[in-house]
Symmetry: C2
Amino acid sequence: MSYEDAIAALADPTRRVIIDRLRRGPLPVGHIADGMQISRPAVSQHLRVLSDAGLLTVTPSGTKRLYAIAPDGVDNLRRYLDNLWDDALAAFARAAEDQAKGKSDE
Amino acid sequence: MSYEDAIAALADPTRRVIIDRLRRGPLPVGHIADGMQISRPAVSQHLRVLSDAGLLTVTPSGTKRLYAIAPDGVDNLRRYLDNLWDDALAAFARAAEDQAKGKSDE
DNA sequence: ACTTTCTGTAAGCGATAACTTACGGTAAGT
DNA sequence: ACTTACCGTAAGTTATCGCTTACAGAAAGT
């Protein structure tokens, strides 16, 4: 749910591959695992992590389970980075000013 | 340098604490480590990871070394998430449409 | 009812990551 | 020249993570 879990989930390359496969739309587990170099249970475990992080939603459809990217989860992380971006720019500008005035540090 | 390294670096809670301490401006290593519950060498190791990921810049100043957030590095990650956000929204809208038409999956 | 399909979970193993202490090295002050 | 302050790196340990195989369960078809 929190952006902390989301960024931890997206830190894994394999999970980003899974996310990439869901960019076009929802897919069942088997279809996601097809062509991947890891076992299907491994994919299931990754899907669990992504779901717990609020990045995916699940909708059962018969025996299949459709996974889809949850926009809200992505937005959480996006806002964190936007905030960090703003602060970084402000600090950068301030440091440039201070250096022009001759101050080096605190 | 790449957003992959950046997201892996920011996945660690301790490294996010370090980033938070640099939001107001550049700081030397000792000042960053003060008040933290891990040793100073541990902080140094984290700073190395963040630097390698392109999230920090280093400017030697006497015996001290000033670390600062690199806006470019943050922006890399920001763009990745903006892209993912766009795709997620489009896929979400398409899935809602498809469901309205009665299609369940592929 | 039985089989098939699709999926989640448990147990166990190997690799990696984060931490510690100890050491080395550079810049400034006396 | 010597000391002090500040910092990075090496070596070693412990915990966590990602993977595999094996098993269990639910839904649909025959």
